[in-house]
C-alpha cells in the first residue's frame, strides 16, 4: 500500500497540478450537466407543448355548411361509453372594458364540461355557470386589465349593440398560454349561442375517446358516429396541431443531440489530457517506487484512488457551475424557441446523476491509459530520462483507426444522403468524422511544426529551434494537447455555426416573405391556430381611406388537409404584390403570379417532402367539407407551422373553399407618409383592440433575437476555449518541469530570461494554432453537414452560413487565450535559477 502521506502530499504540494486537474474535471462535469439538463428541459418543454397541442379532442361534429345546428340532431350520439361528447358554440367577438378592447374567440359550453376535453386551469375566480357570466383567458384579462368581479361588454358580428357580462374567473391552458397568447373567452352555452344569434343551438360537438386512443379505434368510432348523424352534419378529424410543429422540433432535436454528443467527447478529452499530464509529471517518482518494491497493482491502485478523489472533488466543484450553465443554456433555448413564459424545468435527476457519475467515472477511465504506460515502462529507462515506453496507440494504429472512422463517417453520410438510413445516422457520422479528424491530426502536426517554426525562426531563431525540438521530442504530449484544443474548437464551432445558420436563415426568410410595412392582427393566433381571431372586414376600407396607403393585403389562416395530411392553409392576395413575398425553392417566379391566379398552390418544402410531391404534381385539398384538387406551382421555404404550410391566392381559394375572414392585414404606404400612417394605424388598433406591428418592429425584434443568440453563443464558445486553454497550461508546465535541467544549462550558457519566456510563448502559439485552426475548419465542415442533415427533416434543410467574423473572432480569441495560458509556465521557466535548475531532478 502506498502511504497516505504520499497521496495527500501529492495533492497538497502540487497546487497548480491539483487545481488544473480539478478545473478540468469540474469544467467537464459542468459542461455535461449543463448540456444534458438543457437538452432534457427543452425536450420536456417540447413534449408539454405536444401534449397540449395534441388536443385530447379526437374529432368534431360540425354542420356541412359550418353553421349552427339543433341539439336534437345530435341527441343520438351524445351518450356513449366509448367517448365523451361536449356540445359547444364558438363565435368571434369583440370584448371591451372601458377604453380597451380585444378581439376574441368566445366559446360557450356547459360548466360541467370544463376540463372534460381541454386542460383548463382556473387561475382566479370560478367558471361561468350562469347566464351573463364569462371566464377570460389570462392574456385577455391582462390586456383588458380586468379580473373577477369586473364587467366587460361583448359584441359579435351582426349584433347591433354590446352585451354586458360579468367576469367571474380567469383561466389558462398550461403550456399554450406560456408559448403564445390565447384569446379565448369561456361562457355558458346559452350565452355564446345568443351572441351567435342562434339561441338553443350549438355549432360543434367535441368528441374525446375514452380508453384506447389508437388510430384504428378513432376511425371506427368516427364511422359509427357518422352513421348516426343526419346528412347535414359530419364528423371531421380534429386538427392535430402538434404535427405542424414536429419538423421544427426534429430539427432542434438534431441540434441538441449533436451538441450533447460533441460536448461529451470534448469533456472526455479535457479530462484525459489532465490525467495524462498528472501521471507523466510523476513518471520518475513512480519509477523509484517500482524499483524499491511497489508492484504494478499498487501503483495502479494509488493512481485510481487519486483519480477517484480528483473526480469526486471536481464533480462537487462542477455541480454549481453546471446548474448555472444549464439555467443559462435553458434560458437561451427558451428564448430561441419562444417558450419565454414557460417555467424553467427543475433540475432533472438524470442530468444530476450523469453529471455526478461522469466526473469520477471518466477520470478513472482516463487514468487507465497513463497508469498502464507508467507500469509497462522499464523504471530505469524512466529515470534515465528516456522515452516513457511505447505508446499504446502507435502512429500507424491512429492512422489506421482515423482512416477507418473516416470511411465509416463517409458511408453513414452516403446512406443518409441516399435516404437509405434515417437522418439520425448523420449524427453518428458527424461524431465519427470528429473522431477520425482527431486520429489523423498527428499526420498534420509534424509537417506543420516544420513550417511554423521555420517562419518563427525568422523572428526568433533560437527560441523557435528549441521550441520545435521540445515539442517534437514530446510528440505524444503535443498530440494530446493539440487534440484537446481541436476537439473543443471543432465542437464549439459546429454547434455555434449551426445555431448561427438557423437564426440567419430565419432572419433572411422574414426579409423575403414579409413585405408589408405594417401589420394589424386581432390577437396572436394561439398554438393550434383554430383560435385565431378574424378581423372586421369593414376595417379594410377604413385603412384604405388613410392618406398614403398603397396596399392593404388580407391574410387568412385555416386548417386544411392536403392528400389527407394536416396542414395550414394561408390565403392572401398575391396579385397585389409586385414581387410575391415568398422564399421560392422550386418553381418559376416569372409565371408564378399567373399560376396562382389560376388556383394553383405553393407548398412548404416540409409538407412537399412529407407528401412526396413535387412541382406540377396535383394535390387533393380539403377545407371543411369542400374538397378540390390543385396543381403545385412552387415549393417554398417556410418556417410557419413547422413548414407544413400551403399558400393560395385569395380569389381562387375563396371560390373553392370556406375561407375564414382575414386574421391579418398587411399594409404598405408611401415612404413619405409612413410616419403618419403608423400613427393612424396605432389609433385604429387601439380603437378595435388590435395588435399593431411595423415591419421595422418585426425586424428589430428578430434582429435582437439573433443578436442575443449570437452573443450568448460567442460567450459559450469562449468559455469552452478557456477550459480548453488549460490543456496548454498543462502541456507547457510539463515541458518546463521535464526540461528544468536542460533549461538551466541553456541559461548557464547564455539563454536570456526573455528568450526562455519567448520560447514557451512560441510553443503556445503553435499548440493553439494547431488545435484551433484545424478545429475551426473541421467544425465548419461538421456544421455544414449538420445543417444539411436537417434536410432529412425539412427537405430544404437549413442554408449553411459560414459567419467568417465569428470564425475569425474565435481564432483570434483562441490564440490570445493560448498566449495567456503560456504566461504561467513561461514565467516559471524564465525565473529558473540556472545552478539550481542544473541540479534539479
Amino acid at each position: 500500500m502506498i502511504p497516505r502521506a504520499y497521496f495527500w502530499n501529492t495533492l497538497r504540494l502540487r497546487p497548480i497540478r491539483t487545481c488544473l486537474s480539478l478545473i478540468s474535471v469540474a469544467g467537464a462535469v459542468a459542461a455535461v450537466m449543463a448540456v444534458l439538463q438543457s437538452t432534457i428541459a427543452t425536450r420536456m418543454q417540447m413534449n408539454d407543448l405536444h401534449s397540449t397541442l395534441d388536443s385530447p379532442v379526437n374529432m368534431e361534429i360540425i354542420a356541412t355548411d359550418t353553421g349552427p345546428f339543433a341539439q336534437d340532431d345530435i341527441a343520438a350520439v351524445m351518450k356513449s361509453d366509448e367517448y365523451v361528447a361536449v356540445p359547444i358554440f364558438r363565435v368571434f367577438t369583440k370584448v371591451v372594458a372601458g377604453s380597451r378592447a380585444s378581439r376574441c374567440l368566445t366559446v360557450g359550453m356547459n360548466s360541467d364540461d370544463y376540463g372534460r376535453v381541454h386542460d383548463v386551469q382556473i387561475v382566479s375566480g370560478r367558471t361561468a355557470t350562469e347566464f351573463g357570466e364569462v371566464c377570460l383567458a389570462a392574456s385577455v384579462a391582462e390586456h383588458l386589465r380586468v379580473g373577477p368581479g369586473d364587467e366587460v361588454e361583448i359584441g359579435a358580428k351582426g349584433l347591433p349593440w354590446l352585451l354586458k357580462k360579468k367576469v367571474v374567473g380567469v383561466y389558462q391552458v398550461p403550456v399554450t398560454e406560456q408559448v403564445n397568447d390565447s384569446a379565448t373567452v369561456l361562457t355558458t352555452l346559452d350565452d355564446a349561442a345568443r351572441l351567435g344569434k342562434s339561441r338553443g343551438k350549438v355549432n360543434a360537438v367535441l368528441i374525446r375517446l375514452t380508453g384506447d386512443r389508437s388510430e384504428w379505434r378513432e376511425q371506427s368510432v368516427r364511422e359509427s358516429v357518422q352513421a348516426q348523424l343526419p346528412k347535414s352534419l359530419m364528423v371531421t378529424q380534429s386538427a392535430a396541431a402538434s404535427d405542424l410543429s414536429r419538423p421544427t422540433e426534429a430539427m432542434i432535436g438534431v441540434g441538441l443531440n449533436v451538441a450533447a454528443i460533441l460536448s461529451v467527447i470534448a469533456s472526455v478529452f479535457i479530462v484525459f489530457n489532465s490525467s495524462q499530464m498528472s501521471v507523466t509529471e510523476r513518471q520518475g517518482q513512480l519509477a523509484v517506487m517500482r524499483i524499491i518494491g511497489a508492484t504494478d497493482d499498487q501503483i495502479r491502485s494509488m493512481l485510481y484512488r487519486e483519480a477517484l478523489l480528483i473526480g469526486l472533488a471536481g464533480t462537487v466543484l462542477g455541480i454549481l457551475p453546471g446548474i448555472a450553465g444549464s439555467a443559462f443554456l435553458e434560458q437561451g433555448m427558451r428564448d430561441v424557441l419562444g417558450f419565454r413564459k414557460m417555467q424553467s424545468v427543475a433540475l432533472q435527476p438524470l442530468s444530476v446523476i450523469v453529471g455526478i457519475a461522469f466526473g469520477p467515472l471518466v477520470t478513472m477511465i482516463s487514468i487507465w491509459f497513463p497508469a498502464k504506460t507508467a507500469c509497462v515502462t522499464p523504471p530505469m529507462q524512466v529515470l534515465k530520462g528516456g522515452s516513457v515506453g511505447k505508446p499504446i496507440l502507435t502512429r500507424r494504429l491512429t492512422l489506421t483507426l482515423g482512416v477507418a472512422f473516416f470511411i465509416i463517417a463517409s458511408v453513414f453520410f452516403a446512406l443518409t444522403w441516399l435516404k437509405i438510413a434515417p437522418w439520425v445516422t448523420s449524427i453518428v457520422a458527424i461524431a465519427c468524422l470528429e473522431i477520425a479528424s482527431v486520429l489523423l491530426l498527428p499526420e498534420l502536426i509534424a509537417p506543420m511544426a516544420v513550417l511554423y517554426f521555420r517562419i518563427a525562426g525568422w523572428f526568433a531563431p533560437i527560441e523557435a529551434g528549441l521550441g520545435h525540438r521540445q515539442l517534437i521530442d514530446k510528440f505524444q504530449r503535443t498530440i494530446v494537447t493539440v487534440a484537446v484544443l481541436f476537439v473543443v474548437s471543432a465542437t464549439s464551432i459546429c454547434v455555434g455555426i449551426t445555431t448561427f445558420s438557423v437564426t440567419q436563415n430565419i432572419e433572411s426568410w422574414v426579409e423575403r416573405t414579409v413585405d408589408a410595412d405594417f401589420i394589424l392582427f386581432a390577437t396572436r393566433p394561439s398554438a393550434d391556430m383554430s383560435d385565431a381571431t378574424s378581423l372586421p372586414l369593414e376595417l379594410k376600407d377604413e385603412i384604405r381611406q388613410l392618406p398614403g396607403i398603397t396596399m392593404v393585403d388580407e391574410v387568412s389562416f385555416c386548417f386544411a388537409s392536403v392528400n389527407e395530411r394536416s396542414a395550414m392553409l394561408a390565403v392572401q392576395e398575391f396579385d397585389l404584390h409586385r414581387t410575391i413575398p415568398i422564399d421560392l425553392i422550386q418553381g418559376d417566379m416569372s409565371t408564378l403570379q399567373d399560376r396562382l391566379q389560376e388556383g394553383e398552390v405553393l407548398l412548404g418544402s416540409v409538407l412537399a417532402n412529407l407528401l412526396q410531391v413535387g412541382l406540377d404534381d396535383t394535390v387533393t385539398i380539403q377545407v371543411g367539407e369542400s374538397v378540390d384538387t390543385a396543381k403545385v406551382a412552387g415549393i417554398v421555404r417556410e418556417y410557419t407551422a413547422g413548414g407544413l404550410m400551403m399558400q393560395m391566392d385569395s380569389r381562387p381559394a375563396k371560390e373553392r373553399f370556406p375561407i375564414p375572414d382575414p386574421q391579418v392585414y398587411g399594409i404598405n404606404s408611401r415612404p413619405e407618409d409612413a410616419a403618419s400612417v403608423a400613427e393612424s394605424l396605432k389609433t385604429i388598433a387601439g380603437q378595435h383592440g388590435l395588435v399593431y406591428q411595423s415591419l421595422a418592429d418585426l425586424k428589430n425584434m428578430i434582429r435582437s433575437m439573433v443578436e442575443a443568440i449570437t452573443s450568448r453563443l460567442f460567450l459559450i464558445l469562449v468559455l469552452a476555449l478557456v477550459i480548453a486553454a488549460f490543456a496548454i497550461v498543462n502541456s507547457l508546465t510539463m515541458n518546463v518541469i521535464e526540461q528544468t535541467r536542460y533549461l538551466g544549462l541553456l541559461r548557464v550558457v547564455g539563454l536570456l530570461q526573455s528568450q526562455a519566456f519567448r520560447l514557451f510563448l512560441c510553443q503556445a502559439v503553435f499548440l493553439g494554432a494547431m488545435g484551433i485552426i484545424p478545429g475551426v475548419l473541421i467544425g465548419t465542415v461538421m456544421s455544414y453537414l449538420t445543417t444539411n442533415s436537417f434536410g432529412g427533416i425539412t427537405d430544404h434543410g437549413v442554408t449553411f452560413v459560414a459567419a467568417p467574423e465569428l470564425l475569425a473572432g474565435y481564432v483570434v480569441c483562441g490564440v490570445v487565450l493560448s498566449l495567456l495560458a503560456a504566461v504561467l509556465p513561461a514565467t516559471r521557466a524564465a525565473r529558473l535559477r540556472p545552478l539550481e535548475a542544473i541540479h534539479e531532478e
Binding site: N9, G293, A294, T295
Partner: protein
C-alpha cells in the same frame, strides 16, 4: 518466492552465471555485457569500475533484478532472479535488495521519515513499526534530526544519507549503489563511502557499488573492471595508481 538453487553453499549472496544483456536500438543489437560470471559473498563490499558506457550500471540493475538478463542465471541468496516474473522480482527487491542512486531519487512530496519507511509501507507493515524502523535506519545514517523535512530542504549529502537509510530499512541481503558519490563533493563522498563500508563490515551486508571514483574503489574489498561488456579484472583494489594502470592496460589491449 523464487526458485531454489542447490549450489549456493559457499556463502555467496549473489551468484551470476554467464549472464548477458542485449538491447535493440534502431535495429542494432547493443550488448552492455556478455557472458559475465560473478560471485559476491556476504558482507563483501564490491566495486564495479569501468569507463562510461561499459555496462556497469546495466550489470548492477540486472544483478538487483530491476531488469532481467537476456541469458544466463542470477541468484540472490537462494532465489533465481532470472526465472522470476516481474511481480516476483519486485517483491524480492522490496524485501531483500536496497538501492542507492547517484541522483538520490527521493520522493519530493514525502518527508524524510515517510521516504525511508516507504518500502515497509509498500510491504504492508504497520505505520508505527515502519516509522520506528525508519527512525532507526535514519539514526544509523546520522539523519535523526531531519525526520520531518522534505528532500528539497536537504543538502545533497543529506539526501544521499536518507537514500541509504531507505535502502537499509528493509534489512536487505544486498545493497546496490549506482555512483552514490557522483553528485557529492569529496568530503561528503568520503563520508558516504565510509558509511557503506561500515555497513558491509558491521552488519555483514553485501554492498555492490558502481563507481568511477578510485578512492571509493580503494576502500572496497574487491574490484571488478568491466570493459566492452566483459569482466577484465577481478581482484583486490590495490592503490589508485595500480587500478588506473590496470584499466589503462585493459583498455589498450
Amino acid at each position: 518466492m523464487g526458485h531454489e538453487s542447490d549450489s549456493n553453499s559457499a556463502g555467496n549472496v549473489i551468484r551470476a552465471e554467464r549472464i548477458s544483456k542485449v538491447f535493440l536500438h534502431e535495429g542494432t543489437e547493443i550488448w552492455p555485457f556478455r557472458e559475465v560470471t560473478l560471485n559476491i559473498r556476504r558482507g563483501e563490499l564490491l566495486a564495479i569500475m569501468g569507463p562510461s558506457g561499459s555496462g556497469k550500471s546495466t550489470l548492477l540493475h540486472t544483478l538487483g533484478g530491476i531488469e532481467p538478463p537476456t541469458s544466463g542465471g542470477i541468484w540472490i541468496e537462494d532465489h533465481c532472479v532470472s526465472s522470476m516474473s516481474e511481480k516476483e522480482r519486485t517483491l524480492l527487491r522490496r524485501r531483500r535488495v536496497g538501492f542507492i542512486f547517484q541522483s538520490f531519487n527521493l520522493i519530493p512530496t514525502l518527508n524524510v521519515l515517510d521516504n525511508v519507511s516507504l518500502p515497509l509501507t509498500l510491504d504492508g507493515i504497520s505505520a508505527k513499526e515502519s516509522a520506528d524502523r525508519a527512525a532507526e535506519a535514519l539514526a544509523k545514517t546520522g539523519m535523526s534530526h531531519r525526520l520531518t523535512h522534505l528532500p528539497t530542504q536537504l543538502s545533497g549529502g543529506e539526501q544521499q544519507r536518507v537514500a541509504i537509510a531507505r535502502a537499509l530499512v528493509i534489512h536487505p541481503a544486498v545493497v546496490l549503489a549506482d555512483e552514490p558519490t557522483g553528485n557529492l563533493d569529496s568530503r561528503r563522498g568520503r563520508d558516504i563511502t565510509s558509511l557503506l563500508r561500515q555497513l558491509a563490515h558491521d552488519n555483514r551486508q553485501t554492498v555492490v557499488v558502481v563507481t568511477h571514483d578510485f578512492r571509493v574503489a580503494s576502500q572496497s574489498d574487491r574490484v571488478i573492471v568491466l570493459l566492452d561488456g566483459h569482466v577484465t579484472y577481478d581482484g583486490k583494489p590495490g592503490s589508485d595508481e595500480e587500478l588506473m594502470a590496470t584499466m589503462r592496460q585493459e583498455s589498450e589491449a
